[in-house]
Subunit: 345 residues, 2 copies
């Protein structure tokens, strides 16, 4: 990302802009047609957790999910960046148990729950976090189960050369339509490979996942199963008071959204046949969320509570420690104009 | 801040840049001579907590600090954004007690300690935070004490029209050499006014604070007293494993540094007679800290542990949850070149 990342979000204080966030946005259909490009959308971006749905395709396609009797709750958790709340942790443990494994099989590392209440409950109970509290534990449980179902030793499943990561690369290449290999690989926060690929390819890929167009019938069905699971169990994808959960609870079937670290967001809009990928240049989630909310508001015809909630997500108040709103994080005028001038259907 | 904020910090993953931070930097002497300008340094910036030393001048100048027998520990806390660790909280309470007040006099609002260990200790003890844990409680205790010493009711001391805020405005105008009034005011996170002023004015102001040049003898002495207090008690200014504390513990008398919310940093270098002000466009502390460390490395002749520590602060590793370094947040090549090409003494 270079000079071609325009200012898309402003953070105000009083009547002045205090901070600014730049970014790039791509909206594409399943054939890769350019519906909207803001900034250098050919630039390579690490998608991080925004592509967990693609990373979960092998879990379904190998038959592992069926063999272990995973329902929407487990499949949604396999696509999740969760807050480490009780239901997340228990479900990840249960997934591993179906394959005869436990927390010791996870190679994602440990961090305190990102959900504040869950973190405080754990501290209060005198506990320490384990790998099940890692926001990626559901995805990793899915990797372990995929390996076990295939009769492969899951040990080292985070490695580039492990068969599970090969299956994921194959799925990514197919869905995104671009080469995915070691030359573009780096290591994600949870120790698995992440691949720097053109932002626009992720938009095209999510349009394919949303519509099945350009995918084999088997892959299209697996994508639909995973997306429907996220719509059915939005709490499992993120958690209490989290952007992805709020949006998918509000707009099931209409707006699949998934955040990733360093300001990435991917989304799919089945009724429009469109996919969206965006990246905040500086990696700030406070900006990528406002951007995605502005995109949702521009793409979908919303009314009532849905319209009000998405509008609220697009404009996050800046509060004092006494609870007074003294500013707002909001889409820039430039971004609103570009979205307003685009015909999405 | 507009198009004129160049990329000053890069965050890498593997061999690629994943995210970028832009910013503006001003280095000035006490006469306001331009030693280094990067980006639009005439742009107005809210200094937030980076000017707490200026905000503490009335505490010393009115005689309140002497009347209440405040030593370096209390004065450093009056200039602090602290982590809410035990010594911070107890010292703020003790300051208020000297004026016959308690936590109920604080109008800064409440938040959990920013220091992780202090937060967990409080949760474990079944406690809840109060205004003493607010990172600004020392500054606010200083405001309350200033009012009490002057025989003024401290109630409402956060308001623009309260005499304490008038004294602060007068000091800011004098030190910075620019008008400070309601037309540039907004509300800071701790409920007091903050003023949008040209970035370069803060650099000039900190050069004056460091040297006393351009200030009355009384004001120069008060500034010296406060700066020496921060050098003597660097833990009080921030806390365990915090940037400002680390730098001032390492370079007492040589490098006064103070961070502010939304990516602001101010600094003073007495031996060079220079002041520094910088702002990361997007408000990220991970970037403003790398920028300030790069400035310190460029300005001062450092050896041994000091050189190694500042170099480490300029290059923060990006870690996986398993503890492996997979990238780094570092000054950009452009920033390093501009710093390297400047003669600072």
């Amino acid at each position: 990302m270079s000079e071609t990342a325009p200012i898309l979000v402003e953070v105000t204080r009083g009547d002045r802009v205090e901070s600014r966030h730049r970014g790039i946005v791509a909206i594409r259909d399943a054939e890769g047609r350019d519906v909207l490009s803001i900034g250098a959308t050919a630039e390579r971006v690490f998608p991080r957790s925004a592509v967990k749905l693609i990373q979960a395709l092998p879990l379904v396609e190998t038959g592992a999910a069926d063999a272990y009797h995973f329902g929407p709750r487990e499949l949604a958790l396999a696509c999740a960046s969760h807050g480490g709340e009780t239901l997340h942790v228990e479900t990840a443990a249960a997934m591993l148990a179906r394959a005869g494994r436990d927390v010791s099989a996870l190679e994602c590392g440990v961090h305190w729950p990102t959900a504040e209440d869950a973190r405080r409950d754990l501290v209060r109970a005198g506990g320490r976090p384990n790998a099940l509290h890692n926001n990626c534990s559901g995805k990793h449980a899915g990797f372990v189960c995929t390996a076990c179902h295939l009769g492969i030793d899951p040990a080292g499943y985070v490695g580039y050369d492990h068969p599970v990561q090969s299956l994921i690369r194959d799925a990514m290449e197919d869905v995104l339509g671009v080469p995915v290999d070691a030359s573009v690989a780096a290591t994600d926060g949870c120790a698995i490979p992440t691949y720097a690929l053109p932002l626009a390819a992720f938009a095209t890929g999510f349009a394919r996942l949303a519509t099945g167009r350009g995918l084999s019938a088997e892959r299209a069905a697996a994508a639909r199963t995973l997306m429907d699971a996220c719509f059915a169990e939005p709490f499992m994808v993120a958690g209490s008071d989290r952007f992805c959960t709020t949006v998918m609870r509000l707009l099931p079937g209409r707006s699949f959204v998934k955040t990733g670290a360093e300001g990435v967001f991917c989304a799919a809009f089945p009724e429009l046949g469109l996919g969206v990928a965006l990246k905040c240049e500086d990696g700030a989630t406070r900006a990528s969320e406002r951007m995605m909310a502005a995109v949702i508001a521009a793409l979908l015809s919303l009314e009532g509570e849905a319209a009000a909630t998405i509008a609220r997500l697009a404009q996050e108040p800046v509060l004092t420690r006494t609870g007074v709103a003294v500013g707002v994080a909001r889409p820039s005028g430039f971004f609103q104009e570009r979205l307003g001038a685009t015909r999405f259907n």
